[in-house]
């Protein structure tokens, strides 16, 4: 926990979570009923008690976009720790309802943000199910379980791939179809809805809203292999301008240009161009991801590639990849992970003020610096190497240690809390996690 920052209410409010996690870790209980009659209600959960040390002076480590950062020299117990509770009720054999709450450190932390999913599900046939309500967004291999540390080797999902996707769930419907195909099982899913997510961007009250998300997923799973492909199209809400404070910049730029035009013989043509670039209206994007995993005997290998295709100048097209190779020795696994995230266009630079407008520099330079910061906050260019081990202490408890070395290019940080403009950096992160399921 931070020593050089004052203790806030937010930090104190995390204490019950940490205590609950310690309690759960010390007394893991198997909640499956002894009774053989199929029970109507179910209650399960999972938790992570994680200690992390990382970040630099300028870049604060976090594993979720809604969180505060951990800066150089700090240890944090709250950043990686979480508690999830899941309730299910079987109404009939074909009709059930489920709800999952994930309690973790977040900028805004109410029931609305903690509720990861809550839906009604109807099984139309053994092969077809339909759900309605709040549903996990199916965008990648760890869809709906990116917080479930017990199910994967790493201390956290690879940041270069997973860190760029702030949305986890949507409110809408999905329909899934499962059938046997060759030696495996083929699953397809279509979904549509709207989404919203708390993000700590300019300040902790920020929200990211998606008016429309439509997508499909196809996956094929055998005993040892899993292959999947997903495609999604999203339409962002126009309040994105507010979230990223681009409204203020646009107004500043355009009024400065008007002022210059009326008061001087010159014309600041760049202003309109920049205003146009940072406008966040009618932003749409397409997202594609492919993943493959192999899990057999001693080896656990997994790789994913995503491609975020956007026309917008602020949210540029982006690709993330990772490859993870794990080797099991008795109840421990050793693993290595390489990951890379990069925007496909080079870093945007604000054009310098033309020489004839030099007298306005004192007023305009801060504005241009602000725009540059906006470009840089959205710019991504980093890669990392991780090595770690997982030890299955018991059938429901796993202990992990992971070391990451991350190379962040000039202004290229992804997911970090960026306090100032950042230059090229190499950052080490050390994580110790205890994962339990119950």
């Amino acid at each position: 926990m931070s020593l050089n920052r004052p203790t806030s209410y937010r930090e104190i409010s995390q204490l019950p979570l940490i205590l609950a996690l310690i309690w759960l870790t010390l007394f893991p209980a198997y909640s499956m009923a002894d009774d053989f009659a199929p029970s109507r209600f179910s209650f399960n959960g999972f938790a992570t008690l994680g200690a992390v040390r990382g970040g630099s002076e300028a870049l604060g480590y976090r594993q979720d976009i809604a969180e505060d950062g951990v800066f150089e020299g700090d240890w944090s117990l709250k950043t990686d720790s979480l508690l999830a509770l899941q309730f299910g009720v079987r109404i009939t054999d074909d009709f059930d309802a489920a709800m999952q709450l994930v309690y973790e450190d977040r900028a805004i932390n109410g029931i609305e943000e903690s509720l990861k999913w809550a839906y009604l599900r109807y099984r139309l046939s053994p092969n077809v199910t339909a759900r309605a309500g709040r549903i996990g967004l199916d965008l990648y291999m760890l869809s709906e379980y990116r917080h479930l540390g017990f199910s994967y080797l790493w201390a956290r999902p690879p940041v270069e791939f997973y860190g760029a996707i702030p949305l986890e769930y949507f409110d809408g419907v999905d329909v899934g179809y499962t059938t046997s195909l060759g030696v495996g099982t083929l699953s397809t899913k279509f979904f549509a809805g709207t989404g919203s997510s708390a993000v700590d961007f300019v300040d902790s009250g920020d929200k990211l809203r998606v008016d429309k998300a439509i997508g499909a997923t196809v996956s094929w799973e055998t005993m040892h292999w899993q292959l999947r492909f997903s495609a999604t199209t999203v339409e962002f809400n126009d309040d994105l301008q507010e979230t990223f404070r681009t409204d203020d910049f646009i107004m500043g730029l355009l009024s400065a240009a008007t002022l210059i035009k009326t008061q001087t013989p010159f014309d600041w043509t760049d202003a309109e161009h920049i205003a146009d670039q940072i406008s966040l209206q009618d932003v749409t994007a397409n997202y594609y991801a492919v993943g493959i995993s192999y899990d057999h005997a001693a080896w656990v290998i997994q790789s994913e590639i995503n491609y975020y295709d956007a026309e917008d100048e602020l949210f540029k097209s982006y690709t993330g990849q990772y490859l993870s190779v794990g080797y099991r020795i008795a109840s421990t696994s050793l693993y290595g992970l390489v990951a890379r995230g990069k925007q496909l266009k080079s870093r945007e630079k604000v054009p310098p003020l033309p020489a004839e407008l030099a007298p306005f520099a004192p007023a305009l330079d801060p504005l241009l610096a602000g725009v540059q910061a906006l470009y840089d906050l959205n710019y991504i260019d980093q890669h990392s190497l991780s090595i770690g081990f997982r030890w299955d202490v018991r059938y429901d408890v796993a202990l992990k240690f992971q070391w990451d070395r991350t190379w962040v290019d000039d202004a290229g940080g992804l997911l970090w809390v960026q306090t100032t403009l950042t230059e090229k950096e190499t950052i080490d992160t050390y994580s110790l996690n205890l994962n339990v399921i119950f």
């Binding site: 053989f36 999913w117 759900r131 429901d396």
Partner: protein, 140 residues
């Protein structure tokens, strides 16, 4: 050289053969379902297909996570430890795809549950077999 290879083979065979009796998969004696093959068993116990071939939902039973029979069952069926199977099931459970088999305290209670439930399916050590249930597969 050949002799040595044979010796190693023999050692491997000895080490690999379970010293206790095999694990058997059982259903209610009145359940007329055909014998299950490995694929069907994997689909059933790994949550890919929760139904008997006649379309009835199977009530899957598991043994205590500490038990030797559970360890052997999953080691022989899918080559995974109980912790690995749990990690797999956690994924299915917490993504809402399927619920893991219900855990029954011991083999005696598994037998009782299967005698009392037409659609129940479970596994026990072969040496614990009793009347009132029918074996549909051997896992060893």
């Amino acid at each position: 050289m050949i002799k040595r290879q044979r010796l190693i083979l023999l050692l491997i065979t000895l080490l690999a053969s379970p010293l206790q009796a095999g694990v058997v998969v059982i259903v209610n004696a009145e359940n007329t379902v055909n014998d299950f093959n490995q694929r069907q068993l994997v689909d059933l116990y790994m949550g890919r297909d929760l139904y008997f071939p006649n379309g009835q939902m199977a009530l899957r039973l598991d043994q205590s996570p500490d038990s030797k029979v559970r360890k052997n069952f999953y080691a022989n069926l899918v080559g995974k430890t109980v912790a690995q199977v749990n990690a797999y099931w956690a994924r299915l459970l917490f993504t809402g795809r399927a619920s893991p088999p219900q855990v029954i305290r011991n083999s005696k209670d598994v037998l009782k549950a299967i005698r009392n439930n037409f659609n129940a399916v479970g596994y026990i050590d072969e040496k614990d077999l009793e009347d009132g249930v029918r074996v549909i597969a051997h896992v060893d």
